[in-house]
């Protein structure tokens, strides 16, 4: 029978690295998808995802099980990703690298499900509109859309109330809708 997250966490706390490996195998893809959404750059996202698990390992003894493990893990991931994004914004060189990552995404359009010209344009506008959102608004959109997390879980991850999550989601969707009105 498969161990629960909490059982694996307890084994990690007792020093079993194999249990941590199992947790990483459960969540690495999910964490990666969320971080790619936030950073829009696959290589940076891979680095941030590995850093997330590294920090989780170092802090795992302090995890008391007050929230679910994945909520705790997402909180670490989102914080590192938002910090990294802010650093990139302050650093013009890193910002250009982010833009290079974006162009790379756009070049791959021919291979993705956005095959129609109209849909390709929509995709490009969508990428640009998402990049214009603040990290906090981007985070709620991604956690809701990618993971389908509840408002409560998103609030726990971002350290804010459900009401704040609700209003950020509303605002972010409105912004995206306005920028994409010609395509929707």
């Amino acid at each position: 029978m498969e161990s629960s997250d909490w059982e694996l966490v307890q084994k990690c706390q007792a020093g079993e690295i194999g249990a941590f490996q199992e947790l990483v195998s459960r969540y690495h893809q999910k964490i990666y998808v969320v971080i790619v959404g936030l950073l829009r750059n696959r290589e940076d996202a891979l680095d941030v995802a590995q850093e997330t698990f590294f920090r989780a390992y170092r802090k795992i003894k302090s995890f008391q099980g007050g929230s679910s493990f994945y909520t705790w893990l997402y909180r670490i991931a989102v914080n590192i990703a938002i910090d990294s994004q802010r650093r990139q914004k302050r650093n013009p060189l890193d910002f250009r690298e982010t833009m290079d990552g974006l162009f790379e995404e756009q070049n791959e359009v021919a291979r993705d499900p956005f095959s129609d010209v109209h849909d390709r344009e929509l995709r490009e506008k969508l990428v640009s509109a998402i990049n214009d959102l603040t990290p906090e608004h981007k985070a709620v959109i991604i956690l809701r859309t990618v993971e389908g997390l509840s408002y409560k879980d998103i609030g726990e991850i971002l350290g804010c109330s459900e009401g704040t999550v609700m209003s950020r989601l509303h605002y972010a969707r409105k912004k995206l809708q306005q920028k994409l009105s010609a395509f929707l």
Binding site: I17, V24, S25, Q50, E51, F54, F114
Partner: protein, 177 residues
């Protein structure tokens, strides 16, 4: 029937399924009869599906083994002395058990500041008030210096006729401000 503004503001929550059943039913009925709000719903649904397609479908799967190797390398790598110091400080001073320390420091600081005021109260104040006659024509200067607020008032005035006679020297020695 609720107005369109309420419906449009609730559409996101309605699509997320995060709304009371009674409100959900009101929205559903409204959408059946209001083309404009239904258009808004279609836009939001298209936005949602495009977002999902962009954010989920286009992200490649990452192989676990090399990923884990990268994490493991970071775990086994010996941290630098600086990281160790930061980690030690964080574990010592950010512990929930030390939560009392912040209010305690504030109380001590307030205490020290109060003590400072207390000493000031106890010390001699250097206030000063005087009236001097400048010339023989009854022109005087009154000087008041108040130490606490660091205020100095210089008041030039001339005695009225008769005042000299009625109050005499008394006025000069006890000026009223």
């Amino acid at each position: 029937m609720r107005d369109c503004e309420f419906i449009r503001e609730s559409l996101g929550r309605w699509l997320d399924g995060d709304i009371r059943a009674s409100d959900a039913e009101i929205i559903r009925l409204h959408l059946e009869s209001c083309g404009a709000c239904d258009g808004e719903r279609r836009q939001l649904e298209k936005l949602q599906s495009s977002l999902k397609s962009l954010l989920v479908s286009n992200v490649p799967r990452i192989a676990f083994e090399p990923f884990w190797a990268g994490v493991r390398e970071r775990i086994t790598e010996k941290p630098s002395w600086r990281e160790e110091v930061v980690e030690w400080a964080r574990s010592r001073f950010a512990a929930p058990g030390l939560a009392w320390a912040v209010p305690a420091v504030i109380v001590v600081l307030l205490g020290v500041l109060s003590l400072d005021s207390f000493w000031k109260l106890g010390s001699q104040r250097n206030n000063f008030a005087a009236v001097e006659s400048i010339d023989a024509h009854g022109r005087n200067v009154a000087l008041l210096r108040e130490d606490e607020t660091k205020t100095t008032v210089i008041w030039l005035y001339q005695n009225q006729e008769g005042e000299d006679e009625s109050s005499g020297e008394n006025t000069e020695t006890n000026p009223s401000f």
